[in-house]
Symmetry: C2
Subunit: 414 residues, 2 copies
């Protein structure tokens, strides 16, 4: 009888996998008191659109408008994404290792997702399950932890070394590997570090992966964003042995993070990803990826965005970076690590020089209280001695913010 099962009380609890989904930035920032808005300069938010000074290329708006007006792209797309978009992505990012027999990737090797976040979720889910672990960069983008927490995957961190422009501590990385390790996640160029790895360093990371027979998830969402004379090498261009899932998206390169279009590129090597490819295709059937208007606009966006757009964005960010580097090098008690790309820079707080400030949170809260400048505590990225500055605001705001930070350090150092 069904009656036997009657519950006498309502006991509805959210499941563990939902409740253990934690965004470290929110957990930390929610403890800060953010003062009155008018004077506030937020250098905290990783959204390049908030100040209105950085605008997407015309090609982006034109392409979406054309697709919208044509009225032919309102329907469901294949679950892994529009063929035209996947073809364009494959063509743009194809990077078979030189002199290798790996064929360049094609549309079949691309899976479109709801933002690079969605791409990362799929990659982590297909490679690791509850009880497994993955290697993550420290400092690193907090979403990786959020997703791992959700799945129940243990995060094991490898150190990025500020003294070596945030290169990986490769020995320490390798020591983190256990029999339950399922992947090494690499983020290059880096959020929050603003670092860009050399080809040589990437080859050393690949050697660790190859020795341990581990695939790499390479988060290259900032791939076009490097400063003058800093070359970017796609991870997948450097190995004929290590299978790599490269993730990217429109968010940062084209300044449209709200549009939620990202992708996975499956760089298989020697058929090691047969089952992973199958798993990704299956995961893609769950929510059917990204908005069709934007997907269908991708070929035109790639084709019509002039080189001057990318170089313009990069030079704006580089100028902003040098403003901050110059200003904060003069600040007492701080140590700047010069960025080479992405949209961020990390600044070390030399606590022994400060009076009454002994944590990054205290530093950030006091800076908010005294000077109305909002920078993110390094704890958000597991870098407790640092704070992160976003390099996107207009020059004048950055200059003012840096002056205020200098003044703040002046009055709080011994």
């Amino acid at each position: 009888m069904a009656a036997a099962f009657y519950e006498s009380e309502w006991r509805i609890t959210g499941c563990k996998s939902a409740l253990r989904t934690v965004n470290p930035i929110r957990r930390i920032v929610d403890h800060l008191h953010i003062p009155d808005k008018s004077k506030l300069i937020p250098l905290s938010i990783g959204d390049p659109t908030v100040f209105g000074n950085l605008k997407p290329p015309d090609a982006v708006n034109n392409a979406v408008e054309r697709v919208l007006k044509a009225g032919k792209s309102n329907g469901y797309l294949p679950s892994t994404g529009s063929v035209a978009a996947r073809t364009a992505i494959a063509a743009r990012f194809s990077c078979a290792p030189h002199g290798s027999s790996n064929s360049p990737i094609s549309a079949e090797d691309v899976v479109i997702a709801s933002g690079c976040s969605g791409a990362l979720e799929m990659c982590l889910k297909v490679l690791a399950k509850e009880g497994d672990n993955v290697l993550l960069p420290k400092p690193g983008f907090s979403l990786y932890e959020t997703i791992c927490g959700h799945i129940g995957v243990e995060c094991r961190f490898y150190d990025l070394l500020p003294s070596r422009s945030w290169e990986c501590d490769l020995q320490q990385m390798e020591k983190q590997i256990t029999p339950k390790t399922r992947a090494i996640l690499v983020n290059n160029p880096s959020n929050p570090c603003g670092s860009v790895f050399s080809e040589e360093h990437l080859r050393l990371i690949l050697a660790v992966a190859e020795r341990n027979k581990l695939p790499i998830i390479s988060d290259e969402i900032y791939e076009t964003i490097t400063f003058q004379g800093v070359p970017f090498s796609p991870m997948a261009s450097l190995s004929t042995e290590v299978p790599i899932l490269t993730v990217g998206g429109l968010a940062k390169q084209f300044l449209v993070p709200g549009w939620r279009v990202g992708w996975i590129m499956i760089h298989d090597r020697k058929d090691r990803f047969v089952s992973v490819r199958d798993g990704l295709a299956r995961l893609a059937t769950l929510i059917l990826g990204a908005n069709s208007l934007v997907q269908e606009a991708i070929p035109e966006i790639f084709e019509e965005t002039p080189d001057s757009f990318y170089s313009g964005l990069n030079s704006t960010l580089e100028t902003n970076a040098s403003i901050c580097v110059r200003a904060l090098k003069e600040a007492k008690g701080l140590k700047v690590v010069e960025p080479q790309g992405a949209m961020y820079m990390m600044v070390e707080i030399l606590f022994d020089q400060f009076d009454g400030i002994s944590t990054d949170l205290e530093f950030c809260q006091k800076l908010l209280d005294d000077e109305f400048v909002f920078v993110l505590p390094g704890s958000c990225f597991r870098a407790e001695k640092f704070f992160r500055i976003v390099l996107c605001p207009p020059e004048d705001k950055l200059i003012t913010a840096c002056e205020r930070i200098k003044k703040f350090c002046e009055s709080h150092t011994k």
Copy 2:
């Protein structure tokens, strides 16, 4: 030493939760041979846009164009969605039970997701984990099973009865409940049945839920789509006791399934969903929901879409339904269940009248081979004696298709 862990071979397998993600429609349809395209009439695809005869209201395109051109909505939105969109959704669908003390829902009770599919994934994930079970309608939309398979949740099916216009067999439903049951999923109006439940029947379902202290997931994505004289009642308007997650989206009502915007409405009752609400907010941080352009267009879409659009769509679908009902009632060996809403109708195959056809798959394959009409085998929805017709195509195609089906039945019945 790290060396101790060196894997000697690459052993990368997709994780179980990915590999057990199965779309029953694909699994079944992939076994069919779909003949040459020119003559084919596909009545199989649940995408109202494929024929080009059904177009979104102008308001939809105008609103998105305006948001795009304003250039102010390219950034990240709150993880649960745009406040303006959530406010508009709450206002449109607010439906506190009459005479109850339940306050109408507000923006805080709405979570925007990547399509109604994304909304369903979140609801199922927050309520049920591996080893739990949920009650699903049979026949029912196959994505429910796909998601449950992914999570590892057992599907227990309650029967919808064709003889009673696809009402639930409530006794059999209640017998499916076990101590591990976490929710009852109800889809009204129904895909694939085209049925619409009366208020009275909904109250009986709610009574089952209440007796067993189970929350309801109410998939109301077709809520505006009912035929003349068939009233639709939102589940949440009928109970002051049973907490309900109602899911919906733009896909079907506004004919833009590719845009991937759906939502969850949290109809809490007596704080029974406190933990579920928390879990949903956490899950929303993983991929940050739906495209910002469309989200910000929602208030204008709701406001500016004239009533004539909804009634026009419904009358087109109703006309198409009566064409099919009339034609197929005359067909030998078939039994029609008249639809009352949504975009589908189910037709029973009376196998004992057929010669050499004993399964729905055989029926559909032979119909494809002989007459180039593609209908989905009922097996896709766990209704092995039926096939499903999509009612969206232009009249002339439907008329031709029905003629061909009649001819087909004529020549294959005894």
